[in-house]
């Protein structure tokens, strides 16, 4: 049986939610013998996920809880992000299509890239709504 290493922690939904989560997850990996450069998308994915929770689930309110569960296997980091905020619109994940860019410069989009990046950089992405909580789970590969 592969050895599992797990951690649970909470971050506040304030403006530094993403940075705090990234620091904690990076330290968790390092403590368990995994250099950050072996999980190069960790920072970007956690930033996008936490930003979405803060902006959309919690409508930019501070002082709300965001719970994280990490599970490190030999070649993946499994992450579950739980919040107690608003449900995902239509009860499901946004498509996260690649941004369309063939338009005049002044009309280029300034947002809407987050879900595309999350989908592109994770595997096993799954959203569940359970008892007024949002559960977002995904897997990040650990490379050589």
């Amino acid at each position: 049986m592969p050895q599992l290493k797990t951690m649970e922690f909470k971050v506040d939904s304030g403006p530094t939610a993403a940075r705090t989560c990234i620091e904690t997850a990076t330290e968790f990996l390092a403590r368990n013998g995994t250099e950050p450069n072996r999980c190069p998308s960790l920072e970007l994915v956690l930033a996008e996920v936490l930003n979405n929770v803060r902006e959309h689930a919690y409508a930019e309110q501070d002082s709300q809880d965001i719970a994280l569960e990490l599970e490190l296997t030999g070649d993946h980091l499994l992450v579950t992000c739980i919040d107690f905020g608003a449900e995902m619109p239509n009860g499901k994940l946004p498509d996260g299509k690649a941004p369309t860019l063939n338009m005049p410069r002044q009309d280029l989009p300034e947002g809407g890239f987050g879900w595309f990046l999350i989908r592109n950089l994770t595997t096993s992405l799954k959203y569940t709504r359970l008892e007024n909580c949002n559960h977002l789970a995904f897997s990040l590969p650990i490379g050589d």
Partner: protein, 111 residues
């Protein structure tokens, strides 16, 4: 949001003196860029050599900064780290900006 500005040749060079352009500073970045580039010449080079990380909010703020220059002025980028370049490439925003490996190459290239 710590940005410095200089003129090199015909270009205004703005250097980001922060390691991260992310959601927590994106609005300040956009606002500071607007003030610094109000009277910019035709070409502005944004030097990102000290920036280790951007997220989609940071990318959006850089796009917004380009749009703030108006259709007649250009925003080029220099010094993208591997992680920053990855965000531009994945979203194909690397096709929208002139991107140079470092400031010296950027200033030597014609506008």
């Amino acid at each position: 949001m710590n940005l410095s500005t200089n003129t090199i040749g015909d270009s205004q060079v703005i250097t980001v003196l922060e390691a991260r352009i992310d959601a927590s500073v994106a609005i300040q970045f956009k606002d500071t860029m607007r003030k610094l580039t109000e009277d910019a010449p035709n070409r502005v080079i944004l030097d990102l050599a000290q920036v280790e990380f951007i997220d989609s909010s940071g990318l959006g703020a850089i796009v917004a900064s380009m749009k703030q220059l108006g259709a007649d002025r250009k925003l080029d980028l220099s010094g993208l780290s591997v992680n920053v370049d990855k965000v531009f490439r994945l979203t194909r925003m690397d096709t929208i900006f002139g991107i140079f490996p470092d400031l010296e190459t950027a200033t030597k290239a014609s506008a």
